[in-house]
Structures are given as C-alpha cells and as structure tokens.
Assembly symmetry: C2
Homo-oligomer: 328 residues x 2
Amino acid sequence: MTIYDIAREAGVSASSVSRVVNHKPGVKPATRAKIEALMEKYNFSLNETARGLSTQASKMIGILVTDIRTIHYTDTAYCVAQELAARGYCSILFNTGASDESQCHYLQILEQRSVEGVVLIGSSFQTPAVQAAIARHLPNIPVVLVNGYLDLPNVYGVLSDDVGGLASCVALLARKGRTRLAYVRDAKTPSGQLKLQGYLQGMAACGRAGDGWVYEATTDLQAGYEATQQILREHPDVQGILYSVDLIAAGGVRALTDSGKAVPGDVAVIGVDNCLYGELCNPRLTSLDNNLLQSSATGAMLLIDRLENRDAPHQVLLPYSIVERETT
Amino acid sequence: MTIYDIAREAGVSASSVSRVVNHKPGVKPATRAKIEALMEKYNFSLNETARGLSTQASKMIGILVTDIRTIHYTDTAYCVAQELAARGYCSILFNTGASDESQCHYLQILEQRSVEGVVLIGSSFQTPAVQAAIARHLPNIPVVLVNGYLDLPNVYGVLSDDVGGLASCVALLARKGRTRLAYVRDAKTPSGQLKLQGYLQGMAACGRAGDGWVYEATTDLQAGYEATQQILREHPDVQGILYSVDLIAAGGVRALTDSGKAVPGDVAVIGVDNCLYGELCNPRLTSLDNNLLQSSATGAMLLIDRLENRDAPHQVLLPYSIVERETT
DNA sequence: CCATAAACTGCAACCGGTTGCAATAGCCCA
DNA sequence: TGGGCTATTGCAACCGGTTGCAGTTTATGG
C-alpha cells in the first residue's frame, strides 16, 4: 500500500496524498477528508525509507556503545535513546567492543545508513583511529562522545572531572585519618588514566606523593576480590582502598569481610559510578557519583541542539559528588 | 558522492558501478579496476537507504524492549543485537515501557521503517492489543517474542517453564524441611501469573494447598525490603521466601538480616533470573536460572532462520535449573 | 456577469540505488 | 574476412516518496 494506491482510489494525484500525509496546506477539505478516509480504511502508513531518501533526512541516529551490558552504559544508552525517541528519531544501536577496527567498521555502517547524528558511549572511542574514521566517514554530522574528547569540529564531548573526583576521594579518606591507601584501576583508557592521575594527585596533596599503591583488575567481581587479597597480602596495614568501578569495589568489599577485616573499621572503601551495585553491596558502598543521569541528558541535549541547528559547546565538564554510604 | 559521480569520472554508466559495488560478474577486469580505484580515492560508501528502497530489503530489524535497564533485558538485547549484527543486520532499538499504547506506537514506527523482522523483549508484550497491532502493522514479517507467546502465524515465541521452575523451587525448600513459605511477586504479566501458578502448584504438591502466602512488590530493592518486613510481621514463623526477581530478593535478604534473622538458618531465600545481583547479595543468593543466554540465543536464531527462509518452530520451551548458592 | 486573485491540483524531476533486456564490442574459427 | 558467440555495457523503468511550478478551479468583489 503506497500513496499511489491511495491516490488512484481517491481519484487524485500522489502529490495530494503526500500533502495530506504531511499535514500540509493547499488541499481542499473535501479532498483531504476523502484521502484520510481511505488512509484509515487501508490502515495506510507511509514508507519512511522512501521519504528519507527524498527529503535527505533519515531521522535516524546511531548509538555506538562499547558494551551495553556495562551498567553505566546501559543507563546512558537508555537516556539518550529515550530523549531522541521523544523527538521522533530512531536509534540504531551497535555494540562495538573496544577494538579500533570494529569501532571504525560500525562508523562506516552508520555513514551508509545516512544517520543524522551519532552518540558514542564508552571510553574506548577516544583514540586516533576513531578520530580518523569520524573525519573520513562522518565529517559533517554531529557526533557526541559521552565521556571523552576528540578534537574534531563536529565532535562534542561530555566529560566528568575524573581527576578532581578521585583526588577528592583521597582527601575524604585523609580527613578521616587514613593515608595508607591503595587504588585498583581497570581499563587503561584515557578516562582511566585521569582517574589514576587524580588518585596520585590526591595522595601528593596529603603528603604521600609517590606512595600510592596501584593495582589492576578486569571489570568483574572476581578480579576485584583477587586484587584485594593481593593488597592485603602485600600491605596488611592498608587503611583504605579506592576502586575505579563499583563492581570491582563490590568484589573488594567481599574479600575484605571474608578475610576478617571490618569495613570501614579497618579498611574504608570507595567505588566510582554510584550505581545499583553499591546499594546491593554489604555494607553499602560509598561511591564517587559522576552524575550519569546528567551526563547522558547533557549528551542527548548536545546532539539535539546540533540537530536542530542551535549552537552547542564542544566540551561540557560535569561536576562530581561523593555519595557516602557505609564503607567510609 | 554517489555511484553516478563515480560513474561519470570513470566514463561508464552507474550500472557498472553498481555491479562492482555488489561484486557481481559481468564487468571487464580493467573497468572494474578503474572503478575500484575511484571508489578508493573518494572513499566511496554506498547509500544503504537507497539500496534498501530499490531492493526492498532494509536489512534492519526492530528491537522493542520494555525497559533496557532491566538487567535481564539488557543481556537479552545484547545477545540478539550481536547475533544480528554478525549477519549484517542493523538493530533499531526502542524502549516502549509497558503501556499498550506506546508498544503499538512503536510497532507502527517499525512498519514505516520497513524492518525485516522484529524482536520483542519483555513480558509486557503478551497482550491482545499488541497482538492486534502486529496483525495490523506487521502481518508478514517474522516477529520473535522472547519470553511470551502470541497466537499469530508470523510470531515465534521463546518460553521458559515458569510453572515448573517455581514449583521445583518450592520442592527444593520442602526437601529441606521448609513448608511455611511466602512468595513475593512483581508484575501481573502472563509470565508473572505462571510463576505464581507454579508456586501455588508447588505448595499443593507438598501438601500445603491453599496455604501459600503471597505478597507484592515493585521491581526494586526497597520494595523487596518492605514486603519482607511485612511478611515477618504477619508470619514471624516463615521458613522460606521466594521472590519473582533477584533484585527484589536482594532487598528481601537485607531485610531479613537487618531484623536479625539468619539466612538461610532461619529463613531460606530463592530468587529468579540468576543474574549478577545474586552474586553481589550477601549471603549469595540461590536463584532459579531461566537460562537467559540460551533463550536470547534461541530467539535470535529463530528470527534468523525465518529471515533466511528456513522453517522454525512457533514455540520453544526452555528448561530451567536452580543455582544453589548460600541462601538455601 | 466578468475580471482577478486565491486556492487547489497534478506534472515531472529528483533522491540514490538495482536490474532486465537490448545493443555493442570483442573473440574464435572456418 | 565474415559469421556466430559470448562478454560487456548502458538504457530505462522502478522502488516510494517530495516539491517547485504551471495550469485549473473556485471565490471575491465590483
């Protein structure tokens, strides 16, 4: 069922049907009524693909996310998709993984699909290869990078102040008299580097420059558990541990209580993200809140502003806050 | 940059360029090489929208999910999207919420986008209104309903045996000598009804027909906490509690330990979904595993089989299993 | 009742591809 | 060198819409 079918049966041209479908003026009320009746009768719904081709406006945006199962990205993707859907855009979603090759591959697919904008969710996108792929495939459409920065005229970034955030976590513990601290990092992304930097900076600020014990873990419970066991072996007198992600921290808290340490009595713990995992943790986890809701909302608005041709800042730096629960 | 631009510069017709792009035979090697060189030079990438219009194959599939933030649906959506992406399909994702109106609205949008298939993730889709909307808007393309069933020739359902699953949870507790049991349900979806039915059936099987204490909670920690407090007030001698969802169960476990009950010493607990929340819970949660990975993989394969014109069963019933951890 | 403006309506070109079919070119062999 | 084939190539129609512009109605007013 196409507008031509409707037109034929109504005894008019496709132009008139098109005008009715698009609520444009210039159609006699009687004609309009006849067309609308037929549309209703045949349950007509217009082919958006064809319309997109003709109007050069696909009304689609691409969402690339490293892995949507990461709780933090799930929420971001949800917010962005909802915000866009409310404005009539369709979201094409791809999980890219962290490899440059795959990320660039999907950027090209988005080009072929003529998306009007792109949102990149995840810290794996802040690489030269991705930057080059954007310049090559999507030089003229707005691209929003949630949590990161790329120096390209059409890329807009939302950043949280990782350095300041981590430093203030250290400061919080220092105020409670704890300066023998360890830090467990996860991915070696730019954002991960900033967090580490914030931790080291915080240590320096409380007079323990060069003393930061740094460990590594993959992003899962078990890795957090094991890294923490290692910390306890190597530094039994540790007074506080910071984790780059709540999930790892949850594993850490379990390791601490399992080995008889009181939390926060013996060892204080702080995670990052302030997600549901922190609430589930026992005792409940104190966490650095990078204000996910605001950052996704900001990312969505940045994109929408550009889509609707309003100006938008190329970088937005969001504040952080510490949500104290039971582990500090 | 279109195939016409390439054609002009190569001194050939668009047909030849099209043949080269699609790796079709019938182009002289020299011509092919010249065209390929130009494509490379201009970084040409074909407009898939136009191709879709022409070939009547959009290579897009729609994924409707009640709310992707529900951990269970996140994982399902991820699996399905990955499986489809690997076969060259784009996924259009919408969060519909549970309202019929909104669900039908998005079904219509998918029709307009000419998707080749649809995956519905969530138990909110098993309603007469959705059934009617599918019959009306998408009567000819395969629709897979993950966790549910609709009686339509083009709809394929993946179901888990909720009745049997819950009944066997009750049986497990009964074997441990616990028959004073409560059940906390969440949504009143068809699947929720089946779980309740399974619980009641299990109670009947161990000689306590009519004795099942049934409570309700929304799907969050706090609601689980409160429902459990209520259970303890009204039935202080409860020996075991089943929860329709792990997240609610986690709130329940917290309520139990907070009020001094030993878990599982005084009260045993079982959740459903076997998701990460169960691992985070302290003590770790025993959970009914409805085999998410298998059900999403099955859903994806069902759709792919139909897309590639192979036969597929209209209903697949998946087995369940109980993963015992520390709360039983 | 007619001139003139305003309101409708439809033609045709265009968006960027695909593809059946006819035309042309190139090749082999007698 | 001519005939018969096959390999290339391009024309033109089609996918399902949109839209500028010109032609046709209809309404208004004198």
